[in-house]
């Protein structure tokens, strides 16, 4: 696969909006870099799936959506939760397993939920969120609520029956579901071409009569513009829409992963297309950002991260007496 040149060209946004995009990508990046360290210190346990390299997708797509929309995400969802509005403190506390976490420490990294933000997880079964999204969208249709249900999933999920069944249902019933595929080229360690007979994901989705769009997921401008167009279609009641964001995961699948399935050169080539540095370079070229301003922004984000870590450290454990609480409604 020959890679496209790194994202470049003018950023067609007001400075403040553009800096907001950069800031959110940076917040995800720094939060996760710190999370990886904390994993090494055994403060965070279990699985930890980092989104580093894919930040433009969550930031651009969620920016295109409305606060009242429904969000369904995967186990690689720290960034989505953060950009959606979950405080970094709450995410960090959840990853620590503390009661102050969004799910009281019961879910951990893979199960970030927030009913108020209409964030329906944090689903760690590949493809598991897709039927849920169809149902949420159906509920809105039946209740006459105009809202978009956005469902994030990886390209690995497109090999699951759940993807095909859900696309079919969504299209058949014309529900307002927005399917956002984060194609990072590897389902854990299995490359797309080794797992899919049809590697053009838009072709697969289009077979259900759903309009599709292929987007450079490393270019936040392309992501935001593509997501804006897609959500508009869904919001206008024209039925579901499928977007493939071509992106890349720079870190291991989870924390233990010798990365035998891809070569370093490929990783380096994709890093040259990194969503964060290419975007800040464009902003600098246009005079919308100086190095000093970037460093100030980075320092501000670093403070937010350290505050989140301190909050998680100071958090409390759910009492063992509450173990069986919430298995059923009280």
């Amino acid at each position: 696969m020959t890679l496209a040149p790194p994202p470049a060209g003018p950023v067609p946004y007001e400075r403040e909006f553009a800096l907001g995009l950069a800031r959110d990508m940076l917040r995800i990046r720094r939060m996760e870099e710190r999370s990886a360290e904390l994993y090494g210190e055994q403060k965070i346990r279990g699985f930890l799936h980092l989104y580093i390299g894919e930040e433009a997708v969550a930031v651009g797509a969620l920016r295109a959506l409305a606060p009242e929309d429904n969000i369904v995400a995967t186990y690689r969802e720290h960034g989505h939760a953060l950009v959606r509005g979950m405080p970094m403190r709450t995410i960090m506390a959840e990853m620590y397993g503390k009661r102050e976490g969004c799910s009281r420490g019961r879910g951990g990294s893979m199960h970030l939920f927030d009913a108020k933000l209409r964030l329906y997880g944090g689903n760690a079964i590949v493809g598991g969120g897709l039927p849920l999204a169809v149902g949420l969208a159906l509920a809105d249709t039946l209740q006459g609520v105009r809202r978009v249900t956005a469902c994030f999933f990886g390209e690995g999920a497109m090999a699951e029956g759940a993807f095909h069944e859900s696309m079919n249902l969504a299209a058949l019933w014309r529900v307002p579901a927005l399917f956002l595929c984060e194609n990072n080229l590897y389902a854990m360690g299995t490359a797309l071409a080794r797992s899919e007979s049809q590697t053009d994901l838009c072709v697969k989705a289009a077979s259900y009569g759903v309009p599709t769009l292929k987007v450079d997921g490393q270019d936040i401008v392309a992501v935001y513009e593509g997501a804006k167009r897609a959500q508009q279609h869904v919001r206008e009641g024209k039925g579901p829409f499928f977007v493939e964001f071509q992106t890349y995961r720079y870190r291991a699948h989870s924390m233990f992963d010798p990365e035998l399935y891809r070569d370093k050169k490929e990783v380096e080539e994709w890093k040259a297309r990194g969503p964060l540095h290419t975007f800040t370079a464009r902003l600098k070229a246009e005079g919308k950002l100086t190095e000093e301003q970037f460093l100030a922004l980075d320092a501000e984000v670093a403070k937010e991260v350290e505050d989140a870590v301190a909050f998680a450290e100071a958090g409390s454990w759910e009492p063992v007496e509450d173990l069986t609480k919430d298995v059923y409604a009280p």
Partner: protein, 322 residues
């Protein structure tokens, strides 16, 4: 009023649909076809295609969509044609519906009802004859019901819909044609097991499609001078231990009757609870009559041999008095 199990179930659906605009029914062939077992016959004409929603053969997606719709404020009733096909939806039921409340720290309710036919006895062979109620009853986070009488067929749906948690209802396919008297002032709940026949010598504990067979066995035992009590578990999760233990304390002998395969069966669970809670009330070892551990054969005599039958229940009961 005399009614059939099927009509009672339909009346319950009709009442639920009329009472609450959030309620809708979806599943394979529930609409135009009128329901595989004709339970939903006529409801499409009455409530329209939005609320009597035919689905493609996509058990995983339409059960999952039911979960999503429940999260989104609706009160879906999802009909999975039979328990055999529910295995295709097991992921959504076990990994999402059952876990969501606890895993999210109590943030989400999934007020979903899943109905499915279960059981054997109609010569439809191995892939259409499963009794897997115990698989579902194993899972914390869902509730499991097995209405076995017309009264429960009529009455259990409403409390299931009112419940904020996912409820799975098993309707034994052999029961749809059974008829019974629906009392004028019927009441029902989804909490307690029921004593279907009072007795004092042996407690026969069963549920679902095995109830009529067990009642027949009790009549046969009566002719031999053994006064059997019949307990219908009704609610398979959470189990009502108190009713079971009270019966065991009274009869001091117990036989479990369960159409599931013996190993890891619901019968095994109830037996374990009796041993834990009422061991010293027993005058004899516990016994059980389950399905033989074979795939269900097609030929009638072989299918009959594989299933619990009144004669087997009688023999097991008499064995406790040897």
């Amino acid at each position: 009023m005399k009614t059939s199990y099927r009509e009672a179930m339909r009346a319950a659906l009709r009442e639920a649909l009329a009472a609450d605009p959030r309620v809708f029914l979806m599943g394979e062939d529930v609409g135009k076809y009128g329901g595989t077992y004709a339970v939903s016959k006529g409801l499409l004409e009455e409530f329209g295609p939005e609320r009597i929603r035919d689905t493609p053969l996509s058990e995983l997606a339409f059960v999952g969509a039911g979960i999503g719709a429940a999260l989104g404020g609706m009160r879906p009733i999802v009909e999975v044609m039979t328990v055999n096909f529910s295995l295709l939806a097991l992921d959504q039921i076990v990994n999402t519906a059952a876990l969501l409340r606890h895993m999210s720290g109590g943030q989400f309710s999934v007020p979903l009802v899943i109905r499915m036919a279960t059981g054997a006895g109609r010569q439809i062979a191995a892939q259409h004859s499963h009794s897997l109620e115990n698989w579902y009853a194993h899972v914390p986070g869902i509730k499991v019901l097995a209405p076995a009488t017309v009264e429960d067929a009529r009455g259990m749906l409403a409390p299931a819909l009112a419940d904020p948690d996912p409820v799975v209802i098993f309707e034994h396919a052999q029961l749809y044609n059974t008829e019974g008297e629906l009392p004028q002032n019927w009441t029902t709940d989804m909490k307690k097991a029921a004593v279907r026949r009072q007795g004092k010598d042996v407690s026969l504990i069963t549920y679902g499609g095995s109830l009529p067979k067990t009642l027949k066995a009790a009549d046969m035992l009566a002719r031999e001078g053994i006064d059997a009590e019949v307990i219908d578990l009704r609610v398979l999760r959470p189990l009502d231990d108190a009713t079971v233990m009270a019966s065991v304390a009274k009869c001091r002998r117990a036989v479990l009757v369960d159409e599931g395969w013996r190993s890891g069966s619901l019968a095994a669970e109830v037996m374990a609870r009796i041993v834990e809670q009422a061991f010293y009330d027993l005058d004899a070892p516990l016994a059980r009559v389950c399905s033989e551990e074979v795939p269900m054969p097609y030929a009638r005599h072989m299918e009959e041999a594989a299933l619990p039958q009144p004669e087997k229940i009688v023999a097991a009961s008499k064995g406790l008095f040897a």
